[in-house]
Amino acid sequence: MFSQFFGAYLLNEGKVTKEQLAKALDEKKNTRMRLGVLAINDGLMTAEQVEHVNLTQQTVDKLFGDLAVDLGYLKPEDVTALLAKQPSDYLLLGQTLVNTGVLSNSEFESAIKGYKSKYSISDDDISGDQSDKLASLVNEFYHFSTAENAKIYTNYITLLFKGLIRFIGDDFTPLEAYVIKKAAAPRIVSQRICGEYSAYTAIATGADEYSALAKRFAKEAYVNDAEFDDASVGEFLNVCNGLYAVNESNESGVELSLIPQQFTKNSSEDLTKDAFCIPVQFTFGEIEIIVSI
């Protein structure tokens, strides 16, 4: 999920456009990490040093790591450690943007520093147990701390984003949230959660995005049919809400139950309370997650 919020950071800082980001998210799966980007991320080399090695490589037939050692920028053990590292997903996104010329090495260097500093992210956060850090990233990104039930919003959205990555795909960027009093979209699937507290949750999209979402969730079981789209997107929301209810039961002893989903077509749903509308930009289009607790 660090990758999705890194994308959102780049977008909000005006370093990339929505189109450039969508293209990079699409191409990320074919990207191979390069040592220079890993060295910048670890603070072992500056962007200028990486550029110097890249330029020198054009005249000398040597690998980047060997040349960086020759030029005194890296030690042999640094190269071994960097090569052994499993690249994080957000670095693959950064590498793709560098490869396609959207970001230069120095723009990547300043973006990565800015992102880590804005959300107080360390390399240990990214490589270790991420649960707490992800929740704090979500909380800071959406400023939930100013809302009533901040912890519930944070936990719910963190889990829903994990659900999106697990069941739909990681090629999305979370966009800035806003408050709404009415949900309106060509397609809305909503589900109420009740018990020790109650919540309204929904996914609102255009018709094409709704089918794309249904197709991603159903995978090979997909049937091109409006009723099946409802069943698939409805089940996705139900599964995510179910996992949330199980988490609440296991971790906080809070018992919740789910009400059957409602489906609305080309209309709107009045909300009894203000809700957060969280747009999420996928490579196939934008969906909105609506939640009110």
């Binding site: 069941f167 159903a218 089940e235 139900n238 179910g242 199980v246 139950s257």
Partner: protein, 126 residues
């Protein structure tokens, strides 16, 4: 018993969950697959077909999966019923086991889990 000779009842009010589970079970060679979209229909189809194994959702209209499970066990104490729910809380788990469920699965159910359960059932190890 071979998987081909088994009969399976899949009960879920979600058309998506029902169809995708049935589709996967069919790929394993199982020929007799019955579907039900609520608890009452599940009881009716169990009595009519006596399947070797049942996959049952919990939250469903007409009667819940737990109520359907109780009625099936009352009819056939040897029934093998696997409860599958998106809300696998401790409370649901306890009531399912108390009512006689053979196992409990948290949705989404993986194909590997289903295959393992069917193979165990075929060997009489459920």
């Amino acid at each position: 018993m071979n998987l081909v000779d088994m009969s399976v009842l899949v009960c879920d009010d979600s058309m998506f969950a029902r169809k995708s589970l049935c589709m996967f079970i069919a790929t394993l060679g199982v020929k007799n697959i019955y579907e039900a979209s609520d608890g009452a229909e599940a009881v009716e189809k169990y009595k009519a077909n006596k399947p070797d194994i049942v996959f049952m959702d919990i939250v469903m209209p007409v009667i819940t999966g737990i109520e359907a499970l109780e009625q099936i066990i009352e009819f056939d104490p040897e029934a093998k019923v696997i409860m599958a729910s998106s809300v696998g809380t401790q409370a649901h788990l306890k009531s399912a086991i108390k009512a006689g469920a053979s196992d409990f699965l948290q949705k989404p159910i993986s194909n590997d889990q289903v295959k393992q359960i069917l193979e165990n059932a075929a060997k009489g190890e459920l």
